[in-house]
């Protein structure tokens, strides 16, 4: 598929950020955003849009290895949440990814007057979850695709409507994982594998661990695939379930 110039640049910026996150996950280290400058410098730029695409996963190392993020990274994250609110008619994945970012921000942000959830804050009302009914009606193929897009919500101890929908259908997600591998859709396979790591009731016959190894072998050159696989590994090691 032909991409616009902006789209190709955006994808490149997203991959750069994903590489930074993978490095932090592998090292159990703080996130260092190599491609972005100060908040003022990146406003309106592709870098800010790239943060929006990567979403809550930007701060994933600090969620999985509990530690406060670098203030500059947190400021960029907050600026992104404020700059790209979802439109009222946005697709559910757009709304949920923004919700995930807002939730992550609430996890780390200090309670300043303009902080999320505080009176007058720009995303004061976003603690309310978007609707997730579409997932219950989705086929197992569509469910897996949508969950893979929303992989940043697959974190330990998360409880939201998307997580509950995934929890109700572990076998469907397992089928979707196998389908994604056979279609060579490594990004979807990696995202589904990350979800499966957190779900109870996944069939042992799936061979999830070997499957994730295979996904990394085949698709790990894409930092977005590597991010999901590495996140799954860290969570699997920690034995976390949602």
């Amino acid at each position: 598929m032909e991409q616009s110039g902006t789209s190709a640049l955006l994808q490149g910026a997203v991959q750069d950020l994903a590489s930074d996150v993978v490095s932090a996950l592998r090292g159990g280290d703080h996130l260092r955003m190599s491609g972005t400058g100060a908040v003022d410098e990146i406003e309106g730029s592709l870098d800010l849009a790239a943060v929006r695409v990567l979403g809550a996963d930007l701060l994933l190392p600090h969620v999985l290895f509990p530690s406060p993020p670098d203030p500059a990274a947190l400021a960029v994250f907050r600026k992104t949440v404020e700059t790209f609110p979802p439109r009222a008619d946005a697709a559910p994945t757009v709304k949920w990814s923004h919700w995930a970012m807002s939730r992550t921000l609430r996890r780390f942000d200090t309670p300043l007057s303009g902080a999320p959830g505080a009176p007058g804050a720009s995303f004061e009302d976003e603690a309310a979850e978007p609707d997730a009914g579409w997932l219950d009606e989705a086929t197992w193929q569509a469910l897996t695709h949508q969950l893979a897009v929303l992989a940043p919500l697959a974190v330990p101890a998360e409880d939201c409507a998307v997580v509950r929908a995934a929890r109700r259908r572990p076998v469907d997600v397992a089928r979707g994982f196998v389908r994604a591998v056979r279609r060579r859709d490594w990004q979807q396979a990696a995202g589904a594998g990350r979800w499966l790591t957190l779900l109870d009731g996944v069939p042992d016959t799936l061979g999830l661990e070997a499957g994730l190894d295979f996904v990394e072998l085949m698709g790990g050159n894409d930092p977005r695939v590597a991010l999901q696989v590495q996140a799954a590994r860290v969570m699997r090691t920690a034995g976390a379930l949602v």
């Binding site: 955006l10 997203v14 790209f84 897009v149 060579r184 499957g211 072998l217």
Partner: protein, 61 residues
């Protein structure tokens, strides 16, 4: 004010690409034939996922 027009155009383009990136359509699958699957399985002996042949695809025409 060409610079403002350009900035608006850039932001609009970014927002459009952003929505597409956040709500992507599922890409078309790329399937391997059985011989390729067998070769891959040999390359990664612990992986059992690709030992079965790919899903049959409808024939064209």
């Amino acid at each position: 004010m060409p610079s403002i027009d350009k900035a608006i155009e850039d932001i609009t383009g970014v927002r459009s690409d952003l929505e597409a990136a956040l709500d992507p359509a599922e890409p078309d699958g790329v399937y391997r034939d059985s011989r390729e699957c067998a070769a891959l399985a040999l390359l990664s002996a612990d992986t059992k996922l690709l030992l079965s042949p790919p899903t049959p695809r409808p024939k064209k025409g």
